[in-house]
C-alpha cells in the first residue's frame, strides 16, 4: 500500500528524519496560508500515487503566496496524467506546499527487502534525482548496496561507507548516519516493503533532507499496522483494482476482453501467457487465492464482470487448497440472470473437480468445459469467429 508524499514525510518526521518545512492543503486558500507561513517562495506538489509528476506539470515552483494559491487551484480537483498513470490519470485531492532549499548534492536512497538474502538492503547512489532503473541502466557502478543484519540493524560503519562512496564531506557524512538509522527503524517498525527517498539532498548547510519520499507498506502486514492502513487513498487506484484490494483479491486490470479467473499467481500468469500467445488479450490478471469460499469467489467473479470490456470468461482452476466446487458455487452465485449467456470456458482439475463440474453443468449458465489449455484456445477461437 502506497502512502502519499505528505503522509510519508509526516511519518519520516515522526522518526526524526529531516524533511522540508511545509504543509498539505486541500483548497487553494489553505495553500496560500501555508505559503505565507513559508515566506512566499515555495514549491506546490500534486499529491498523487504516481511518479513523473514533474514532467506532467504536477510540481510548480512559485515565489508568492498568491502564486501558490493559483498553482493549487490549477492542480486541485484535476486528474494528473503522467508517464506512469492510466490515460485518464489520477485525481489530485491535495497539494503539498513546501519550502525550497539550496541543494548541494542529490542522492538516491532506498530500503527494501532482498528476498534472496532474507534481509533488508539499503540501496544508495550519488546519482540522486534519476530513477533507480535509469541509474541501473546508465551507470550501474554508481549503485551501492548494503545488506542489513536484522539482529544489529543499520550500523554507523555502513553509513560511513556509503558517505565515502558517494563522496560526501565530513559534515554531511556525520549528518547522514542518524538519518539512515531513523529510516531503517521506520522501515522495520512499519512493515514497509519499500522506502525510497529520491532525492535525499545535502543542503548548503550540510544538512541531509528528504526532498521527496515514497513509502510502501507491505499489504500482508496491514493487519498489525492500523495507523498505516488508515492512510490508504483508494481514489488513487484503479477502481476495480481498489475494490479487489479491499477484498484481498490480487487483481490487475489489463486491456483485453478475456476475463481470466484463475487460482494461483503463477498459473494465472501462465494462462495469460497462453491466451496472448494464441492472439487474444486477457482483460485482467486475477488470482482467486488459496482458501476462497463460495461467497468470496462470487465477489471475485462480480469484479471481473464489472469490467465492461469483458466479453467471455476463462476459468482455469487447479484445485489444491482451493476446491473446484467452491469456485463453481461462487460463479453460480455471482452471475446475474441477464448475463447467463456470457460464455464461460471452464477447466477444472484437482480437488473436488467432479463436483465443481456438476455444479456448473446444473446451473443453467453457458458453460464450455475444456480438458486443457490448448482446447481452451480452440474454444476462444470458435467463439470469436461467429
Amino acid at each position: 500500500m502506497k502512502l502519499h508524499e505528505y503522509q510519508a514525510k509526516e511519518l519520516l518526521a515522526s522518526y526524526g528524519v529531516q524533511v522540508p518545512e511545509g504543509g498539505v492543503a486541500s483548497t487553494p486558500a489553505e495553500a496560500n496560508r501555508v505559503a505565507q507561513r513559508l515566506g512566499g517562495t515555495c514549491v506546490v506538489k500534486a499529491q498523487v500515487h504516481a511518479g513523473g509528476r514533474g514532467k506532467a506539470g504536477g510540481i510548480r515552483l512559485v515565489s508568492t503566496a498568491q502564486e501558490a494559491e493559483q498553482a493549487a487551484a490549477a492542480l486541485l480537483g484535476t486528474r494528473l496524467v503522467t508517464a506512469q498513470t492510466d490515460p485518464d490519470g489520477v485525481p489530485v485531492g491535495r497539494v503539498l506546499v513546501e519550502q525550497t532549499m539550496e541543494v548541494e548534492q542529490e542522492l538516491y536512497l532506498g530500503i527494501l527487502i532482498d528476498g534472496s538474502a532474507g534481509s533488508p538492503v539499503v540501496i544508495a547512489s550519488r546519482a540522486g534525482g534519476m530513477e533507480i532503473e535509469e541509474i541501473a541502466t546508465e551507470s550501474p557502478e554508481l549503485i551501492l548496496r548494503v545488506a542489513i543484519d536484522p539482529v544489529v540493524g543499520f550500523q554507523p560503519f555502513q553509513s560511513r561507507y556509503l558517505s565515502r562512496a558517494m563522496g560526501l564531506n565530513a559534515d554531511a557524512a556525520k549528518a547522514l548516519t542518524p538519518q539512515l538509522t531513523a529510516l531503517y527503524r521506520l522501515f522495520m517498525d512499519r512493515d514497509c516493503s519499500m522506502v525510497e527517498i529520491n532525492p535525499l539532498v545535502v543542503t548548503k548547510e550540510q544538512r541531509i533532507v528528504a526532498l521527496d519520499a515514497k513509502v510502501t507498506i507491505d499489504d500482508s502486514a496491514l493487519f498489525r499496522q492500523p495507523a498505516m492502513a488508515e492512510l490508504r487513498d483508494l481514489s488513487q487506484e484503479n477502481r476495480l483494482e481498489a475494490t479487489a484490494l479491499e477484498k484481498g483479491i490480487a487483481y490487475v486490470k489489463l486491456d483485453g476482453d478475456v476475463g481470466c479467473l484463475v487460482n494461483g499467481a503463477g498459473l494465472a500468469m501462465a494462462t495469460m501467457d497462453i491466451v496472448r500467445a494464441a492472439g487474444f488479450d486477457p482483460a485482467n490478471f486475477l488470482d482467486v487465492g488459496g482458501g476462497a469460499d463460495p461467497e468470496r469467489v462470487a465477489e471475485t467473479v462480480r469484479l471481473v464482470l464489472e469490467d465492461p470490456s469483458v466479453k467471455r470468461i476463462l476459468v482455469n482452476v487447479f484445485g489444491g487448497i482451493a476446491r473446484c466446487d467452491d469456485i463453481a458455487r461462487g460463479i453460480v452465485l455471482a452471475m446475474p440472470k441477464e448475463r447467463r449467456e456470457m460464455p464461460i470456458i471452464v477447466r477444472f482439475l484437482g480437488t473436488n473437480k467432479e463436483e465443481g463440474k456438476r455444479v456448473l453443468q446444473d446451473s443453467g449458465l453457458t458453460i464450455h468445459p475444456i480438458a486443457d489449455l490448448n482446447e481452451g484456445v480452440e474454444v476462444l477461437r470458435r467463439l470469436a469467429t461467429p
Binding site: 532474507g118 502486514a221 499467481a265 488470482d287 487447479f318 484437482g350
Partner: protein, 296 residues
C-alpha cells in the same frame, strides 16, 4: 528415491482443527501420508479425523509421536510463531502452506530455522510430494502424480500442478515435487532443491518452474554454471506477457530491475543448458522430448 521425504517421514499438522487443516490432513491420510498427529493449542487430548491425536504444542506432539516433519495451516498472523515453535521442538522439515506471512516475520524465521538446522519449505507454497513413497505433505491434488524419476521444483502452486499433470499425461513420473513458495523470502531456494536433486541417484531430470520477479532463477543458473547441478533441466518462466511495473500477485519486480523480467530469466537458464518450454502449455511435451533424447 526422493528428496526431503521418504518412507520414514512422520508428519504432524499444525492447525489441524481448522477448516483447511482438517480437509488437507484427511487428503494426506487418504494419499497414504503417515500423519501421526496434529497441533492446536487448547485442543490437546482430543482426536480428529477419527484417530489422529491432537496436541497442545509441537513439543508434546514430537515427544509422543516421534514426528520429523510438520505442515502448517494457520492464519498468516500466527504463522511465524508456528514455524518457530516447530523448529524449537526440533522438527527438521517444516512446510508452511500459509500465504500472506509478513516479510518482516520471515526475516527472523528463516534465520532462526537455519540456526537450528531445520529446512523450511514455503511459506505460501503447495508443499512437497513424493509419489513413490506415497508421501504427500501439502495441498496438491495427489491423484495427478505418478512415481518416477523427474523432479519438479517451482515457485508457483497451481502452475506446478499443471506441470505435473502434463508430465503424468505424457507418461512421465515424478521423484519428488517441491513448491518452494512465491513469497519474497522463503526458506528454501531453487539452488537448495537443485542441490538435493543433483545428489538423488533416482532423479534423472528436473522441471523448474520460475516466474517474473526477483533473481532466484538467475541464482539457479549460476549454481548450474558452477557445476552444482549437471542433470538435464526443463524450465518454464511464467509472466512473459505481464506488463512491467504491475505487481502480479506475489511476484515482486522492484529490487532487481530488468533481471526480474521473464526474458532475462529464460536467457540465463538457457545459457547454462536448460531446455525452455515456450509456454506452460508445453511443459509435458518439452519434458518428453528431453527424456527421449536421454534414453535415445
Amino acid at each position: 528415491m526422493s528428496i526431503l521425504v521418504d518412507g520414514n517421514t512422520r508428519v504432524i499438522v499444525q492447525g489441524i482443527t481448522g477448516r483447511q487443516g482438517t480437509f488437507h490432513a484427511t487428503q494426506m491420510l487418504e494419499y497414504g501420508t503417515n500423519v501421526v498427529g496434529g497441533v492446536t493449542p487448547g485442543r490437546g487430548g482430543t482426536t480428529v479425523i477419527d484417530k489422529v491425536p491432537v496436541f497442545d504444542s509441537v513439543q508434546e506432539a514430537v515427544d509422543e509421536t516421534g514426528a520429523n516433519a510438520s505442515i502448517i495451516y494457520v492464519p498468516a498472523s500466527g504463522a511465524a510463531d508456528t514455524m518457530l515453535e516447530a523448529a524449537d521442538a526440533g522438527i527438521p522439515l517444516i512446510i508452511c502452506i500459509t500465504e500472506g506471512v509478513p516479510p518482516r516475520d520471515m526475516i527472523g524465521v528463516t534465520r532462526y530455522l537455519r540456526e537450528r538446522g531445520a529446512t523450511l519449505i514455503g511459506p505460501n507454497c503447495p508443499g512437497v510430494i513424493s509419489p513413490g513413497h506415497q508421501c504427500k505433505i501439502g495441498i496438491m491434488p495427489g491423484e495427478i502424480h505418478r512415481p518416477g524419476s523427474v523432479g519438479v521444483v517451482s515457485r508457483s502452486g497451481t502452475l506446478t500442478y499443471e506441470a505435473v499433470h502434463q508430465l503424468t499425461q505424457a507418461g512421465i513420473g515424478q521423484s519428488t515435487c517441491v513448491g518452494i513458495g512465491g513469497d519474497p523470502i522463503v526458506g528454501t531456494s531453487f539452488v537448495d532443491i537443485l542441490g538435493l536433486f543433483a545428489a538423488d541417484p533416482e532423479t534423472e531430470a528436473v522441471v523448474l518452474i520460475g516466474e517474473i520477479g526477483g533473481t532466484k532463477e538467475q541464482e539457479a543458473a549460476e549454481f548450474i554454471r558452477a557445476g552444482g547441478y549437471t542433470k538435464p533441466l526443463i524450465a518454464v518462466i511464467a509472466g512473459q506477457s505481464a506488463p512491467p511495473g504491475k505487481r502480479m500477485g506475489h511476484a515482486g519486480a522492484i529490487i532487481t530491475g530488468t533481471a526480474a523480467l521473464a526474458s532475462e530469466k529464460t536467457k540465463a537458464l538457457a545459457e547454462v543448458g536448460a531446455v525452455i518450454a515456450p509456454t506452460a502449455g508445453e511443459i509435458g511435451a518439452t519434458a518428453s522430448r528431453v527424456l527421449a533424447g536421454l534414453s535415445g
